[in-house]
Amino acid sequence: MKKIAIFALAILLVGNVVFASGSQETAKAPKALKVMLSEEPSSEDALLNTLKEWASETGNTLDVMVIPYEDQLTKFPLMARNKDLPDLIATTRLARLYPDEFADLSKNIDISIFEPMAVEIIVDSYATKKIANILPQQFTITNVFYNKDAFDRVGLSAPTVDDPWSFEELAANAKLLQEKGGVKYGMAMDSSRARYDNLMYANGGSMVEKRGESFAVTINSPQNIATLEEFVRWNNSFMPKAIWAGGTTDNPADYFKNGDVGIYFSGTWNYNSFYTQIKNINWGVMPSPVGSAGPSAILGGSGLAVPVNAKNKDLAVDFLKWFYTKENFQNYLNRDKGLSSLVGVTYSPADKQVAEDYKILQSEVAKVTKAFSVDESSLWRNYYDNEYRDAMRQAVNGDISPAKALNDFAALLSKKSSWPLKY
């Protein structure tokens, strides 16, 4: 085999001399920051524009590369093994899955400048060891958008922060909107567990519970099964069922933008794109509804991480130091129109409507539950994210009962994690 490999190598070398044009341009300009994103950024992309501003201010250049989100898990280990990593990565999960590959940034940047909540969600829960191998960039929270035109048609007014809807009111109003509000679907929800799980937490359920230093699996508790049963009924009655049953690559954000949805459960990251893109309907944000145990919201977000083996590690750190100054972060936040992860920096919209919406979005932050924090700290997702999605899909599609879906998934999670089952 070795001989064959050497022979092949010889052929390659000859080939490289003949067709040199495609490959020998690896030499880099001395100060180019290589940044990895998960999708082709739009022209309004807040991070990219901030990076550009940094580049023009400091005279450095940018080398942006995109690796599609769903292919990152395949691609990243290869890049790491080939010591070919970008200098800066904007990511939601890579630092959590490959903690050792990222540099501890707490040496360069004082972690206390960040909102404690953002640190807890983006920084702490990602690293298994208590190091800061990622810093908060976009701090997001789940929230609810609504179609004002549809609400007006049925004479419904949106709930207020002090008086949110219960799940029963939500269901009744969604039904009403679908029947008389001129929308195709009363309500829609992103096909992401972080949307559904809010219902679970609000009804007092959780994925796991703490047992000393370890955990016990509680995902198949009676109240969780009841929540899922209710959710399946909602899907059959006034939601675009295909989104949660699978079978489509559609994104419900498109339905909402198009005016086909009355109430849309998504997250703050959509605010900016809705603000710039939606022209043909009036829309707003409303506080999330309350379940039997209270409200729930899920925080999340992406962070910036610097690989240990990055070529221009120092340049990336330079950027981060620049980025997290109050002035520059403020500029970034004004572009992003999202929540702030930096203490003392807030987004204060000039537009009156945006300012009002922003108040509602911020009120969601207080709704994050303890159960969610415990679930996150268990890192259960590292085991069986996909299996959970599949269990939900089958239940919503009616292939298996909600009880079976959750029982089977609980058994699987327990086996893989060796946490005991509670139910």
Binding site: A5, A8, L9, L12, G15, N16, F19, S21, G22, S23, T26, S38, E39, E40, S42, S43, D63, V64, M65, V66, I67, P68, Y69, D71, T74, K75, L78, M79, R81, N82, D84, T92, T249, N251, A253, D254, K257, N258, W269, N270, S273, Q277, K279, N280
Partner: protein, 277 residues
Amino acid sequence: MKRSSQLSKVFWPSFWTFVVAAAMVFPIVWLVFSSFKQTGELFSYPLRMFPTEWTASHYAKVINDGFFGYVFNSLFLAVVGTLITLVISSMCGYALAIYRFDVSYTNLIFGIFLLGTLIPGETLTVPQVAVISELGLYNNIWGVILPVVTTTTGIFMFRQQYLSIPLSFVEAARIDGSNEAQTFFHVMLPLGTSSTVTLAIFSFMWRWNDYILPLLVLSEQRKYTIQIAIKNYIGFNGVDWSSILAASVMSMVPIIILFIILQRHIIGGLSASGIKG
């Protein structure tokens, strides 16, 4: 001589041909028109074939995102990959056919190559990329070209072609004093033309449409190919449909043009082994 002057005899079959052909290209035509619609119109009822307001802005955006660079990379990959495929497949197919009486194990070797079509290639991606990295071909266009240039289809096509050629041709050349390589080049290569064109278009098409291997092997945006560029518009939180449609349409154009230029030879190539030989 049999051609009837009656119009109806020609009309109905031609009519059905037209219906079938139109049905086959219709989804593409629809896609092309959609790519000129305003983003808002893409999802609004009533659906219309033609845009109410034509716009080329999506194309401008995609081009602005560096699409021509990706086109160049894909072209390089497809052209060089195809050239190598043609040379090595014709050599291999030739050897498997012409030396079948000299070498007793040609069928065994052919069988090993056939194994290549049975295995779901995608499932071997991970070890394959490991090998590519070990050879130092990571982030190198050759790491995308070399692993895929051996195609069983190509070897098969050339083998069939050369099987149909009488061995006396070869003997005649040898008696004239050609060595084996000269025999191959001077006598055999011209005979393989129709297979060559057919395999060329297939190979070009495969390389042009490759996705997973370029994605895994190339790690600089400026080395990306068009298929990766299209996929990059599918984000985690949303899909940039307008850009995807424009990029898809632009990715089709070169390959369709190439096909139209070469299409006569393709049908010929696949039928050549029999009566034409």
